[in-house]
């Protein structure tokens, strides 16, 4: 269990390519030719661990990155291509000790059985530091990469037809997480008995069929992988609208939201808490983290000048779903403290340039928050659940038998 003081904030960093600004790869520190090597990712995660951060998330997708929301583009001036996030996390796991590893998983086109055992195994190879970030895909081109379903095209977001598609994708994601979680519990912790007297390796009464039947798939179980070290690795999701908040409320341990200010943060947290109560999870710890893109420098003017320079290289001003912060680590600490008054328990920072802004987070922001008594001075737990103050959950099947 965690001994984190309530005043402490949690910090995550979202890793994507060379950073979140589309021209970030052109910065001298960016290392764009190393993007497809293990060493690149190991260095970034080691830097985040140096800053005692709770976790890193790794972006992923089942198609090339694009400047359009739904369709591919033909740009040659931006990073295209990426490695499977679960495998990157696993490759880095033996090289790190404390930091949580949370790859993105696309629920729309993958199998919950495969992902359940992959994340359980990530939990074994990291000795209790695994999670996942569940993401849906409404992109027609990604559906065409799998060829087994078509997804109705989303034209205008606020149209009822679009909302139906989005609601269906999120409902499927909720079922997906339910299957993944049941599979993690499908082995009781003490199922392996190695009883030489009877010759039995497992007590099969402690293995459970999950018998999930839903609209999009059915899964029998049990998992082939025993219950992972954390029992339940962390489930996280980014949410921008009510169906996303409901997914967070029903199934997540951490929800990432994108408030502009403390008032909006307060409203989002209230909506998620209400959903959590309605889902019968009021007693569970559910973190709500605020997402921010960050440009961190010694002065605000320097940070703004850097953003302007990158915008000029990109040929357009950078916009984001999340609030974009430009300034110093001290100023960012002020912003985080202010946003936290809205009920956020932590933040997921998206470095505009990974090679520049990530070290500024670990070496400038973290010491500033420590000075203010708002961040840990050392890792206080060996598991990601421990760092986040989450208890190791009881096994649902064991509980029902008892």
């Amino acid at each position: 269990m965690s001994s984190t003081p309530a005043s402490h904030l949690h910090l995550a960093v979202a890793l994507d390519g060379t950073g979140w600004h589309p021209a970030s790869w052109r910065e001298p520190v960016a290392r764009p030719r190393d993007l497809f090597t293990a060493g690149y990712w190991a260095d970034l995660v080691a830097e985040a661990e140096r800053g005692l951060l709770d976790l890193v998330t790794l972006e992923d997708g089942l198609g090339p990155q694009s400047s359009h929301f739904l369709d591919p583009d033909d740009r040659t001036d931006r990073i295209r291509g990426r490695l499977d996030a679960v495998l990157v996390a696993s490759r880095v796991a033996p090289l790190t000790r404390h930091i949580g590893l949370v790859p993105t998983v696309v629920s729309t086109h993958t199998e919950p059985f495969h992902i359940s055992k992959a994340i359980a195994t990530l939990d074994y190879v990291s000795t209790g530091r695994a999670g996942l970030r569940v993401q849906v895909s409404g992109r027609p081109n990604e559906a065409a990469h799998f060829g087994r379903r078509t997804i109705r095209r989303i034209e205008a977001y606020d149209s009822p037809a679009a909302q139906d598609v989005i609601t269906e994708l999120f409902d499927e994601a909720a079922d997906y997480v339910e299957v993944v979680r049941r599979l993690w519990d499908s082995w009781e912790d003490d199922a392996e008995i190695r009883d030489t007297a009877t010759g039995r390796f497992v007590d099969r009464d402690k293995l459970h069929y999950i018998d999930f039947e839903g609209r999009h798939f059915s899964v029998k179980g049990p998992s082939i992988t025993p219950r992972p070290p954390q029992g339940q690795p962390l489930v996280t999701a980014l949410a921008h609208q009510p169906v996303g908040y409901q997914l967070v409320a029903r199934q997540a341990d951490i929800g990432y939201v994108t408030p502009r200010d403390a008032d909006q943060a307060r409203a989002l947290v209230a909506e998620i808490r209400a959903g959590q109560q309605a889902a019968g999870r009021a007693g569970d710890t559910l973190h709500v983290f605020g997402d921010l893109v960050v440009f961190l420098d010694d002065s605000r003017a320097q940070a703004e000048a850097r953003r302007d320079r990158l915008d000029a290289l990109a040929g357009e001003p950078y916009t984001s779903d999340a609030r974009i912060f430009t300034g110093t680590a001290t100023q960012l600490a002020d912003v985080l403290e202010e946003l936290a008054t809205g009920g956020l328990t932590g933040f997921r920072l998206r470095p505009a340039v990974a090679g520049h802004d990530l070290p500024r987070i670990s070496r400038d922001l973290v010491p500033e928050l420590q000075r203010r008594g708002r961040f840990r001075d050392a890792y206080e737990a060996d598991t990601l659940r421990g760092l986040l103050g989450l208890a190791r959950p009881a096994n649902r099947y064991a509980a029902s038998v008892a």
Binding site: A23, W25, E27, P28, A30, P32, R33, D34, F36, T37, A38, G39, L62, G63, P64, Q65, P72, R75, T76, I79, R80, G81, L83, D84, V86, L87, S90, R91, A93, P94, H109, F113, K117, A118, A120, T121, L122, V125, N141, E142, A144, H145, F146, G147, R148, W187, E192, G199, R200, V202, L207, H216, F217, S218, K220, P222, I224, T225, P226, L313
Partner: protein, 462 residues
């Protein structure tokens, strides 16, 4: 000698869910904890092995409607373990079984290309295929594949994956920070595949990996399986570990290569093999007998007979005579999720043969299973085992072996410490790795050899 000595290829199979594994031995460790896999992989790399091999299972085995509990049950995810092992090894090849029935080409191609990048060119894919609805109950598609379509789907799956791997030539990423050109080619990764099993198109999003494609392995002994291997694989796992059977298989498969325009050395034949080492041949033989009895308990022997008899035999005494009833011949099988079941094509004939064998030798049920089941392939002193392996390879019964120790994870260590040095002394096994990729170790050509990859990004070795 006119012919130069063949170089032996060696690999290690992390023992999984089968009765070769003696989990009851006090030296046996976890089959799940990463430390076991790391120990095993480091031993294989210390011994300069070509690769480590992991099998896969997608549904727990059942017998008589209950989860089979007498062998090791449970294993980690193949891709995830291999990626983590890439962090604790530098040269060892990383081979994983991935089923072509319960996966989709885009995702599997991404995972193998990613593993190849993350390991600096050490990935290999053992393509297996399955049709059973039993396993399908864990997947979206469910149980669906007619048996006669399994190889056609596997072949099309592999061909599609190759189209995805080849959708990047390897020189598309320029990443010129000064001019702002990241991609040389806006269409990098473009693909279209229209076939019987897959109708997909779009853009593959993993750039070409160090090996271009993973090394392809195939396991499966049917005529179709041999043909599939001859047409599409770089190596084949066989189960013929006697000299004569091995030579027959070797000749048969290698002779099939020419019709696909391939040379003899473009497909390696690697049987799985077990071993028991002792200080002397006699000590090893005694140890081997003990290991067999550990592998086949009375309960295990009865369950093994149920594979053939296809009926509940729990009322029989494993130390007594064989059942006098005949097997039940049925599409429904008492044992599910097991490859062995398919080995017994005519159960009534096998039962008759086994009863005769048991009567002639005065064997109990357990004695029969011990004496007819998988025997240890190599039993003897390190010198004997090294000599036997070398004789086998030089006589073209195989190109090397995939060794399966009966103890996890330390069972490979005695082989690494005692047998490998003898093979090295004889000049038939490498003293050190000559290259960095698995293709280098196996002597396989790089698919990009001769094409322009000079501007490809530098690759990290580890």
């Amino acid at each position: 000698m006119s012919k130069p000595l063949k170089q032996i290829h060696l690999a290690a199979h992390f023992p999984g869910v089968n009765n070769t594994t003696v989990w009851s031995d006090p030296a046996a460790g976890s089959h799940i904890e990463f430390s076991s896999f790391a120990h095993f992989a480091r031993t294989a790399e210390r011994a300069k092995f070509d690769f480590l091999f992991l099998a896969e299972g997608l549904r727990l085995r059942e017998q008589g409607g209950k989860i089979y509990d007498l062998d090791v049950v449970g294993r980690p995810d193949t891709f995830t373990v291999l990626a983590a092992l890439a962090a604790v090894t530098d040269r060892l090849g990383l081979t994983g079984t991935i089923n072509s029935t319960f996966n989709e080409p885009y995702e599997v191609a991404r995972q193998f290309a990613s593993l190849d990048h993350l390991s600096g060119g050490r990935s290999a894919w053992n393509v297996v295929t399955s049709w059973d609805a039993f396993t399908g109950e864990n997947f979206r598609r469910g149980g669906f594949l007619p048996q006669e379509e399994r190889y056609s789907r596997a072949k099309e799956f592999l061909a599609t994956a190759h189209e995805l791997f080849d959708s990047w030539r390897g020189d598309e990423i320029l990443a010129d920070q000064a001019t702002g050109t990241f991609l040389r080619d806006a269409q990098a990764g473009a693909f279209v595949h229209r076939g019987q099993h897959f109708d997909i198109h779009g853009r593959f999003n993993v750039p070409r990996s160090p090996q271009g494609r993973p090394v392809i392995f195939q396991a499966g002994d049917s005529d179709e399986g041999r043909e599939f291997a001859a047409s599409s694989a770089d190596a084949i796992f066989s189960r013929y570990s006697t000299l004569k059977e091995g030579q027959a298989f070797y000749t048969d498969v290698k002779d099939r290569l020419a019709q696909y325009g391939r040379r003899h050395d473009q497909l390696l034949i690697l049987p799985a093999a077990t071993f028991v080492l002792g200080d002397t041949d006699q000590e090893a033989a005694e140890l081997a007998r003990w290991v067999r009895r550990q592998q086949v308990s009375g309960a295990t022997a009865l369950k093994h007979l149920e594979f053939v008899w296809n009926r509940d035999l729990s009322a029989y005494d494993p130390e007594g005579p064989l059942p006098d009833v005949d097997p039940v011949v049925s599409e429904d099988h008492i044992s599910r999720g097991r490859a062995q079941v398919r080995m017994y094509r005519d159960p009534v004939a096998i039962a008759r043969e086994w009863r005769q064998l048991a009567e002639a030798n005065k064997w109990s049920i357990r004695d029969l299973v011990i004496n007819t089941g998988n025997r240890q392939t190599f039993v003897g002193s390190p010198a004997t085992v090294a000599q036997t392996i070398n004789d086998f390879v030089q006589a073209d019964a195989s190109d090397g072996f995939i060794l399966v120790p009966h103890i996890t994870p330390g069972g490979l260590d005695p082989f690494a410490d005692k047998v490998v040095p003898l093979l090295q002394e004889q000049g038939v096994f490498r003293a050190d790795y000559q290259g960095t990729t698995l293709r280098d170790h196996l002597g396989l050509a790089h698919p990009d050899a001769g094409t322009g990859t000079a501007d490809a990004p530098e690759r990290a070795v580890s």
